[in-house]
Symmetry: C2
Subunit: 187 residues, 2 copies
Amino acid sequence: MNRTLPPSDSSEPGRARKRAASSVQEAIQQSRPFRSTGQEALIGLLLTADLVRRQLSAVVEPRGLTLQQYNVLRILRGANAHGLPTLEIAHRMIEQTPGITRLLDRLEEKKLVSRERCRVDRRQVLCHISTAGLELLAALDEPMNHADERLLSALSPAELTRLVRLLDHVRARTQANLDPSSPTRPT
Amino acid sequence: MNRTLPPSDSSEPGRARKRAASSVQEAIQQSRPFRSTGQEALIGLLLTADLVRRQLSAVVEPRGLTLQQYNVLRILRGANAHGLPTLEIAHRMIEQTPGITRLLDRLEEKKLVSRERCRVDRRQVLCHISTAGLELLAALDEPMNHADERLLSALSPAELTRLVRLLDHVRARTQANLDPSSPTRPT
DNA sequence: GGGCAATAGTTTATGTGTCAACTATTGTTT
DNA sequence: AAACAATAGTTGACACATAAACTATTGCCC
């Protein structure tokens, strides 16, 4: 993407737009090359993640689930028996607090999860996956695994490992940089 | 959601929640390991992209823009003078058609873009970025570049290139499997 | 043991994404 | 020229994300 600082900048016409460009450049049809590899990487990351999200959504959508709902069910399946308090689910997702409530509302409407006040700490609401939920997940395991494989079939095992490592690095660094002092302190 | 640990949690002694695992495993706190590296890669991809999106959103949000709105402005800045028809913008984003209309509606309300019927083909609506829009973008260039660098500062140039290449591969394969009428195909 | 802050969760409001159905214009066919 | 399909875009309905304000419960601590 073009990055030029002055206010009335940029956008000169007739810029050559066909060069042996990277896939990202082609995808967004920008008329200039990237300012940096980093920028290209970020855009590639977002494009790829969107593509993956779409593909995975398409797998669960026929069963009437969104990807987020599927995720909650997976979390609950993995957490079994005792159930999980609502916010614990939110923490394990990339979800904000208010979103998880309604997400669980819809799952409960579909009888895929059940909720109950915790007797020990009555502030908490414990969530469980129902038998129907488990069955639904079971039915989705196959196609989901298949989609996973298909999506990454372009990469060799070694490349996959490298990708995982690179992504881990990015997250590790960024999360370390995040403000550790939470601003949610009314004082 | 940020994985920032609660400061001195210690509410329960018996609650050891750390294990020496990959960053992804730690993040989602799944009790079992991944079935495959591919799955780990996908989840890592989604987590990382979400993180990046959040960080970049935080940069444009103080100016009252969403990341998508910012993107549209960038596209329009890059597309100069003649303006772009609505759907052309949508194609350059990962946006669906209806979304772009309302997105442009909001940008127009803020006087950041203008729209007009094309006289040649009256079905089309040509979109332009306004002077105010250009100024806003200019003001965001600096912090945006800074954020880009910060986000990927963990990776060396060589690693960045590798990441770009790996992501390109994933998209290339998947999109090839997807629909043969690729919308973003210049020459 | 009464006051008060932190915690767990929900509600509300707003912005947005997406699907389906719709309008308007153009191109094509006959 | 009338009919019809394709194109460009909008509108409506609904799910979702996020921030802010709210309720209920618990823990603290004096």
